[in-house]
Symmetry: D2
Subunit: 415 residues, 4 copies
Amino acid sequence: MNAPAILDYRLQPRSAGYNNPPPLQQFLNRSYEQFKSDDSGQLADYIPELTRADPNHFGVSIATIDGHVYEVGDSAVPFTIQSVSKAFVFAYALELLGVDTVEAAIGVEPSGEAFNSIRLTADNRPFNPMVNAGAIACSGLIYQAKRGAAFESIRDMLGRFAGRELGVDEAVYCSERDTGDRNRAIGWLLRNYSVIRGDVDQVLNVYFRQCAVLVTARDLAVMAATLANRGVNPITGEQVISPYVVARTLSVMTSSGMYDYAGEWTYRVGIPAKSGVGGGIIAALPSQIGLGTFSPRLDEHGNSVRGLKLCEALSSRFDLHILNRSADVRTCIIADYDILSISSRRIRQPHEQRLLETHHDDIRIVELVGALNFANMDYVARRLASDRPNAPLLILDFRRVPISPRQVHACLERI
Amino acid sequence: MNAPAILDYRLQPRSAGYNNPPPLQQFLNRSYEQFKSDDSGQLADYIPELTRADPNHFGVSIATIDGHVYEVGDSAVPFTIQSVSKAFVFAYALELLGVDTVEAAIGVEPSGEAFNSIRLTADNRPFNPMVNAGAIACSGLIYQAKRGAAFESIRDMLGRFAGRELGVDEAVYCSERDTGDRNRAIGWLLRNYSVIRGDVDQVLNVYFRQCAVLVTARDLAVMAATLANRGVNPITGEQVISPYVVARTLSVMTSSGMYDYAGEWTYRVGIPAKSGVGGGIIAALPSQIGLGTFSPRLDEHGNSVRGLKLCEALSSRFDLHILNRSADVRTCIIADYDILSISSRRIRQPHEQRLLETHHDDIRIVELVGALNFANMDYVARRLASDRPNAPLLILDFRRVPISPRQVHACLERI
Amino acid sequence: MNAPAILDYRLQPRSAGYNNPPPLQQFLNRSYEQFKSDDSGQLADYIPELTRADPNHFGVSIATIDGHVYEVGDSAVPFTIQSVSKAFVFAYALELLGVDTVEAAIGVEPSGEAFNSIRLTADNRPFNPMVNAGAIACSGLIYQAKRGAAFESIRDMLGRFAGRELGVDEAVYCSERDTGDRNRAIGWLLRNYSVIRGDVDQVLNVYFRQCAVLVTARDLAVMAATLANRGVNPITGEQVISPYVVARTLSVMTSSGMYDYAGEWTYRVGIPAKSGVGGGIIAALPSQIGLGTFSPRLDEHGNSVRGLKLCEALSSRFDLHILNRSADVRTCIIADYDILSISSRRIRQPHEQRLLETHHDDIRIVELVGALNFANMDYVARRLASDRPNAPLLILDFRRVPISPRQVHACLERI
Amino acid sequence: MNAPAILDYRLQPRSAGYNNPPPLQQFLNRSYEQFKSDDSGQLADYIPELTRADPNHFGVSIATIDGHVYEVGDSAVPFTIQSVSKAFVFAYALELLGVDTVEAAIGVEPSGEAFNSIRLTADNRPFNPMVNAGAIACSGLIYQAKRGAAFESIRDMLGRFAGRELGVDEAVYCSERDTGDRNRAIGWLLRNYSVIRGDVDQVLNVYFRQCAVLVTARDLAVMAATLANRGVNPITGEQVISPYVVARTLSVMTSSGMYDYAGEWTYRVGIPAKSGVGGGIIAALPSQIGLGTFSPRLDEHGNSVRGLKLCEALSSRFDLHILNRSADVRTCIIADYDILSISSRRIRQPHEQRLLETHHDDIRIVELVGALNFANMDYVARRLASDRPNAPLLILDFRRVPISPRQVHACLERI
C-alpha cells in the first residue's frame, strides 16, 4: 500500500536511434501483439453490409486530456460508429433540448436486456438512451427540433467531438435503412406511445445515418477524451458540450453502456464505456484519458472481443477503476501535507506570520496550494473555523488550487 | 468554470461565545431542519417489530477519512441495520473466501427488481449481493466456513467497520425469524440450486441476526467512511478490509445498492450507497467521506424518504457525483504546474541542475511533488522520455507524491 | 342427476294471437332486458373512429346448426369486426396454405399477455394467431400468396362464413391505418424475423381492412355456427372451410381467444370464443350453436362487458361447458340401451335371428341405431368380439347411426 | 365425410383358439410395440430416488365408463403418482372446501412456465393448481381443514378414484422430503402471502407424501375414467366427486395440465390430461374413456416421452379431440330423424294419434327417443311451439332420452 519513497532506475545508455516509447505506448504495443491473435467472435451480420468488414482489423488509440494521442495498429482505418454514437447523440439532445424534455421521453434505468430489445418501461418509455429504442427516441427529439437539418447537426456535433469533419458510409446507411426492420418496429412502437411525434421514416433515416458515420479508433479516442475532459476537446480546445451534460452521459454509460454486461463491466473494468456493432468501443476515464478501439469481431453481447480485452487490461494494469481511487486517498494526505504545510506556514511559522502581520496588521492571507477536493477542503474549513484569526479580513489565495466554483461557494460561504 | 483567483472574506468580529460551525455541519443543520418536516412514506411493516419504530426519528452523520465526525439530530439512536449489512457482509465474504468462491455463487448484475425478489439469473444464481437472495447466499457462504461461529464473526467484522462493538436487537431478530417466510422461501430455493449447501435454517438465523444488528447513524457514517478510506477505519486506523475488496463492494453498491432505483441513483446522486428497511442509508464517496442517515419512513422502493433527500442535497450542493470530477480536471492542470514546475525546476533551472551535476556527475535526481494521477504521470513519463537526460542514473523522488504502487510500477518499468 | 322420467305440462289454452316463443328466444329476451341496463366499461379509444360508436347499442343472435336464427335488440346494426376476424382469417390461412406453412410462422401457446403485446416466443414467432402479432402474420401469409387480391379474398371468405357479402367501414379503416402505430411496429418486428416477408405496409393495409369489415350480431352468429357445424354454413349449406381446420381454429380460440382472460374463460364459460374491440364476440359450441353479440363498451381486457355476461349466462343456464358433457354420459347409457336392445334384438331375439338365419343362412345382419360415439362403439365392438356369430358374413347397418368415417374405420377394421 | 350406409365384413372363420381382440386392445398392442423401442428422454433426477426407476418400463391402460379395462405392457407395475395427483387433490379441495375458498387462494390461468416455477400471479396467488405452487397451496388448504388427518384423507380419496386402497413409497417420500428444497422454497413463499397459513413443514409433508402414492397405469386409467364419468368410478360405481367439480378439474387440466406445452397439447391432442415426473400420464375424455400410461423417460417439459406419443396416436386414430365433435353433428341429424320421426309418428301417424286420442281425449303424449342435446332439444321446442296441439295436457316422455335435468328445466319451463 505504501508508495515507494525513492525509486532509482538505472537507465540504458541511450543507443543511437533508439528511444523507449512512453509506458502507455508500450502498453498499447504489447497489448496489440497479445490480442491480435485472438480471432474469436463473429462479425455483425444483421446488416448485410457489415459482413464485408475485414475481421482482422485491429486498431487502438488513447487520447490524454492534455491532447496527446497514442495509437497502434489499424487506428486510422475508418469504420461505422454504430451504437457508439448513442452516447454522443444523447449528450447532444440534452444540450439542445434540456434535461426535462429528454428525461421525460427516455429513462435512465438499465434494462438488463440486449441492445435491440423492443421492451419499454412500465410507463412506456425506452429504458435508457444506450439501447436502440432510447437512441431512436433521441434522434426523434432532435428531428423534432431540427427537422431536415437534424442529421447534419448530428454529424457536425460528432465532428466537433472528434476534432475533424466526419463522413458517412452511404452503403452501410442504405443497407441499414433497407434491412432495419427491427428498428423500424421500435420506431413505430415509440410513436404509438408518443415518444416519437414526427414522421417515423424520417426519424429512422436520421438514426440510420448517424450509425453510418465513419470514424477511426483515433477519432473515438479523441471523442472519449472530450467526455473525460468535461466536454472540452483536448485537441481543438473547443467546449463541445456542457460539463453537466457530460456527467449525465457518463452516468448512463456506466449503468447501461454495455447492455446486459453492464453490471459485470462496472464490477470488472469500472470505466464508463460504450460499444457499437461496427467493432468500436469508447471508454472515458473522467479527467484522465479517452480510449478508442476497433476490432470487428463481436461476442454474444455485441461487444468487440479484442476491444473488451484491451479495456480490461488497461483498467487492471493501471488500476483505473473509477471506484478504486487509490490516488485520491493519498491526495488528501499529500494535500494535507501540502496545503497545510503551506497554509500552516502562513499561519504558524513565526517569521512568515510576522511578515504578514507586520505588513498587513488587520489582514490574514492564507495561500492554499495543491489538489484540493471536497474532503480536504472540509479539513481546511475546520482548521480555519477552529483556529480563527483575529484579523477582520481573511484573504484565501486559491490561485494554485484546482476546485470547482460550486464547491468553493458551497463550502466557504459561511466560514 | 474558472476557479476564483483570490477570495477575500470579511470575517465577522469574533463575538464572545459564538463561532460559526464548519460548512458541512452547517449543511447538516440546515438540511435537518428542512427535511424533518417531511413525514411522507411508511414504516416497514413486513416485520411486525419494525412497526414499533418512532417514525419521527431523524439522524444524520458524516465521517471524514481523516476521522472527523459530524452529527445532527437522532444520530445516536440505535436501530437495526437490516439490508445495509449486505454491503459489509459481501465485503467480508470476499475477504474471507476470495473472489472466485463468492463470484461463482453470486452475480453482479442489477436485477431491475425489488429487494426481496425471488427471481434468479439464467444460471440460477442471485443477481447480486444487494438483493435478499444474494445476501442470504453470502451468509450461507460464511456459514459454510465458520459454522456456529458465523454470526459472531459477522458481528465482530461489522463492529470493526463501526469502530465499536455492536449489539443485536433480539426482539427484531425473533420477529424476523418468525415471520421471514419469504426469505425462508429464498433460502430453500438457493439450496435447491446448491448456492447454499448447509442447513438452511441455520443460514437464515445468521442472516436474520445480521439484519438485527443495532447501529446508529454515526456508526453508519464511520462504516461508510471505512469503505471510502480503502478499508481503513478512519477512527481506529484499523485496516478492516482489503482495498481490492472495497472497490468490488462499491461497484455493486453503485449498480445495485438502491434496487430498481439504481439507475436513477447513479444518474442523479452518483455516490455508491446502500439502504435498509430499518431506515438507514450509507453513502461512501471514495477518498472523501462516509455518510450515515436514519429515518424510518420508507418510499415505495423501501428507501428512507428523508435519507434519500439528504443524499441528493449533499451530492448536489457539494458537486459530489463520482463522474463529475471537476477537481480532477484541474488537478491535472495544477499538477502540470506543480509537478512540472518543480520537476522542471529540477531539470532545467541551471543552478539546481548544476548543483546536482556538480555533486552527482552521473546522477539525475527528479523530485515530483503534488497530486499525481494516471494522466499526469503519463505526462511526466512522456516528458522524461522525450527529454532523456544524459546521466546514466535517474532518481525519481516520489516522497511527496500520492500514487498507487501498481500505477508506479506499470508506468515506469520501461521508461 | 337422474333425468325426469315423464314430465307433464299443463299447457295454457292457446289464446288468440299469442304464442310463447321458444326457450332460447325467451332466454335472449330476458337476458337482453337484464344486461342492457349495465353501462359499465368504456368504448375502445385507441382508434379515434371507434369512439364514435353508440355505447348503448346491444344486439344478440344465436344461430343453430340446423339453420334457425334467434335475435334480440340491435342485432342488425353493423359494426366493425375487428379482432373477431382473427379466428376466421387463421382458418382461411390454414385452408389456403396448409398447416405446415402456418404453424411454422405462428405458435399456438397462450401468451398470458394483452392482445396488442409485441412480445414474441423464444424462437421469434407470434405466440398464437389470436393476438395482433399472430393475426398480422396470418394476413402476411395470405398477402404473400394472393398479393393485391389478398384483402378481397379475405372479404369473400368472411362473407361465405356469414352467408352474405360484407362491406368495409372505410372511415374506420383509414383511422386505423393512420393511427395504428403499434401494429405497424409489430409488422416491422415480424419482418425482422422473416415471419412477414413481403411489403409491411401492404400487409398492414390488408390487416387494417379486414378489421374494418362490417358485420352484425346476426352475421357473427352465423359465422360462429359455421365453425360449430364443422365448417358448413348452416344457412347456405356451403362447406366454407374443412373440418380439420375448424378443430384447429376452435383449439386456439379455446386457449387464447380471450387473451389473458383465457384460463378464466375456459374455467367459467368453457365455449370457444373470440372477441373484438368493436364490441363483438363470437362463441361456437361444436355441433350445437353459434352465438354473436354486439355491445361496444369494453372491460379492461378489451372484451365487451355485456357480451361476456351474456355468454356466461348462456353457458350456465343451459349447462354448455364443453367439458361438462352431462348429455354424453347418458348418451352412452341410452345408446347402450338403444343400440343393444336393437342389436341384441337382432342378435338374440329368437324369431328375428331365426328370420335372418332363415333367409340368409350364412349372413348375420346387425342394425345399429342411436347416437354412437367412440365409447359405446367400443362397447359394441367388444360385444361382437366376445359374442362372435357363426355366420361367415356380418352386415353392420349404420344407416341410423352418426359416426365419423375415421372412427368407423379405426374401430372396425380388425373385428 | 358421409357415414357408411351399410358395411359388410367378411369374417374370418373362427379358428380354434384364436379370437381377434377388440379394436382398442389391438390399438394398445400395436402402439406398445411401436413406442417401446423409443428410448429417448431422461429419468427425472431432481429426486435421487426417482433415478432408480427402470427406464424400460412401459405400461398403458384404458378404462371405459362402462367399466371395462384394457391393458398392455407393464400396466401393473407400481410407481409414484407425483404431479398426476394434482388434478385429484384439486378436485378434492374443491369438494371439501367449496369453490370460493379454493379459487380465492389459487388461480386458473396458464402460467406459460415450467411445473416447478416459483413465479406467482400479480396478486400473489399460484397461477393454477397444476403447477407445484398451486398444488402445494391445495395441500395447504386441506391441511388447514384436516390437520393431522390430511394426508390419510387424500390417500383415501385417491384410492376411491382408483377403486382400491393405494400405498406410499416411503423411500421416495423420504427422498423428496430431504431434497425438495425448491418446493420448500415455494411453501415459504406461499406462507409469506398467506396462501398457506399453517405449518409449512407439515403442509410439505402432506404434499411430498401425496406425490409418493403408488399407482399403476391401470389405476391411472380408472382414476381418469372416474373424471370422464362425471365423478362416478366406473368400476365401483361410487360417486367419488361431484360433477360440478369434475368440470372445473378438467378445465384446468385443459388449460394447464401439460405446463408450457398446454397450448400445443390442446391444439394437437385435445384431451384434458395431466402428467407426472414419475412417468405417469392421465387423459380423461368426458363421457368416453380414461387413459393411464407409465414410462419413466421424460422430455424437456417433464412429460413422459412414450406417454405423449401414445396420447397423440390415440387422439389422432380415433378422432378424439374434444373440439372435433364429428359424432355430435350427425347426432343432431340422426336425432332429428329419430326423435322427430318418433315424435312425429306419435303426433302424426293417424292410427297412433287415434289411439291416444281415443283413450285420452284431452291429453297429448309425446315420446322422445334418442340422444337429445341442447341443440336438438331446441329444435324440438321450436317444433312443439310452432305446432301447438289442441290438447290442454301435454305429456313429454323423456324416459329414453339422456339429458341433464338443468337443461330440461331450462328449455321447457316456458313452452
